[in-house]
Symmetry: C2
């Protein structure tokens, strides 16, 4: 492989990563919309917002269906971050709504 | 909304989240494969493995194309975790290869 060929291949691989990342981004935003709908239902029905059992189901879904090469522990940590960020979005939305109700 | 209707809607939303998560999982594994190809090229060509400028490009790609509802800062943190996990996979692979060469 010549240096030029290496750079050309790197460029194509990076373009592919950028495409994959935009697909992940789109799915993260779709997921946030669904999480917000769930939060809305739970608040309307006065149901518990935080359900540890459901979080276990989410982790089991992704680690149980993982064929790699990303190891299961890494998959779990990525989804812990995703869940945590969406929980923050939910909490901030609730705080804004409560602040709005007080006005 | 009756409690039964609420539970039925929650169930459908959760099924949708599980589907989205499996799509994210698939993309994470596709991304890992591409990252491994990049690492292989860099090692063959004795190029620098870690390129902070490229990481900035990755963050700019996702935050610049983000239309929400997930905030840009949350998107960045999720991708920091993704990049970090893939860097770990790469490092462990290199360590295994080097250990193998010593045998």
């Amino acid at each position: 492989m010549t240096p030029d060929q290496a750079l050309e291949q790197l460029g194509r691989h990076r373009q592919r990563i950028d495409e994959i990342d935009l697909q992940i981004l789109d799915l993260l935003n779709q997921r946030t919309v669904v999480v917000e709908s769930i939060g809305q239902i739970k608040r309307t029905m006065n149901m518990a917002i935080y359900e540890p059992k459901r979080e276990d189901d989410v982790f089991r879904n992704v680690t149980g269906n993982n064929r790699g090469p990303l190891p299961a522990a890494a998959v779990r940590r990525v989804f812990e971050r995703i869940i945590d960020e969406m929980r923050t979005v939910q909490r901030e939305r609730m705080e804004r709504q409560e602040a709005g109700q007080k006005d």
